[in-house]
Symmetry: C2
Subunit: 243 residues, 2 copies
């Protein structure tokens, strides 16, 4: 049965600060919850409606009615289960291969899509500036469709990270060398900038190679691609050439 301490906890977990202090986050929907369980994430509570079949025989199961699920859900249309998982401790990164770095990505949907892209293209190092939206934000968790458990994500002072890493730093700009013709190294860090402002001036100073996705429109008026779409194009081109 759902009791007051559960309501209180679920309410707390709406705030980034609390999620990280308690090292807990919520995920919803059978697909996402099962992917996180299958990946071995520690499940604290599994709130589910009576028709949920519990294929993992989880002892964390707490049955609730659909009105209660709707009350605790972050979704418009809740889908049978809401899980509370422990945030995994991250191990240190390798400093070889491709790392993707995000300079203040704001939109949860964009971050979720980028995490799915990392999973698809085998990029297992995702470095986020401290102002990037929290990857345990419920909207991000939903948008990752379970990929969250398969990509290592760290939040840090991005300038410090880039200064100390040693790999060449590539950044996407409206003007730069074409991604289709530029030199791509096996080991590199690719920086993608904020949705509205692009790469910040502090980070720009640390970029070794400015790259761009050339437009093919007759009259080039589009200001930029959506950041997740641009990430898709660049990761695809890197993988096409490297692997």
């Amino acid at each position: 049965m759902l009791i007051n301490k559960h309501f209180k906890l679920l309410n707390q977990l709406k705030q980034k600060k609390n999620r990280h202090e308690l090292r807990l986050f919520t995920a919803e929907g059978i697909k996402t919850v099962h992917e996180l369980m299958a990946a071995g994430l520690d499940l604290k509570y599994l709130f589910a409606t009576g028709d949920y079949e519990n294929p993992f025989h989880s002892e964390a199961l707490i049955t609730v009615d659909s009105a209660t699920l709707k009350k605790i859900s972050n979704l418009k249309t809740p889908n049978q289960v809401l899980g509370v998982f422990q945030i995994p401790l991250r191990t240190d990164f390798l400093r070889t291969g491709l790392a993707l770095a995000l300079d203040d990505i704001n939109d949860p949907g964009n971050l979720g899509t980028i995490i799915r892209l990392c999973d698809w293209f085998g990029v297992d190092q995702l470095v986020c500036s401290n102002n990037t939206v929290d990857c345990y934000n419920p909207k991000v968790v939903q948008a990752t469709m379970g990929s969250l458990s398969r990509v290592s994500i760290v939040y840090c002072d991005l300038e410090e990270f880039l200064k100390n890493d040693g790999r060449p730093v590539y950044g996407t700009f409206l003007k730069g060398n074409s991604i289709y013709h530029c030199d791509l190294q096996t080991d590199l860090i690719l920086v993608m900038g904020n949705e509205a402002n692009g790469i910040s001036s502090g980070i720009e100073k640390l970029i070794n190679e400015k790259i761009t996705i050339p437009g093919f429109s007759k009259e080039q008026k589009t200001e930029s691609l959506n950041v997740a779409a641009a990430t898709a194009v660049i990761l695809s081109e890197y993988c096409r050439r490297m692997r």
Copy 2:
């Protein structure tokens, strides 16, 4: 001054049926509204707060206070202007080059991103199945960032369209020939499927070439890429090879 007939109209335009009967749609924010005006779209009303500078000297201007703008806006944070534009009449498509076809895309953000991608990569034929979300839905209009005026979009019975067009039909599936190695013709139709169900069985029968974006993850567990991200990868690869 905003009067009852304006409130009534704006309310009507929240429904797809009314938008198409009246051939009108709304767009918000200075950037989007100005891009649509610059593209020559017929502006019926321009509701703007007192601080709006009206650089196009539009006679459609109706000044409103910010409380009223908030009331008529579809955005959480309205941005100075809301325009009511006439839906342009579309001319017939060429039947050469690349056409992108959408088989029941549901999410307004995805359709908006795909329209921006078409604009960026110079794809000026976008064919949507009748069940694809309306491109004049306010959320789609916002997500296109003005690209809406530069891409020709038709809604039709997609099966009939594909049967009659004559170009080879490519479709994206989880299993197919790698996009990096398959034959790409200059003239082709690329079909992208619904977010949850992919390409429908009726359309699948009309596909001449099944293609896929190979994953590079060590353990390939991601079920699929976001449809807009997948569209970005394929349009990029087409343009890289063709142009």
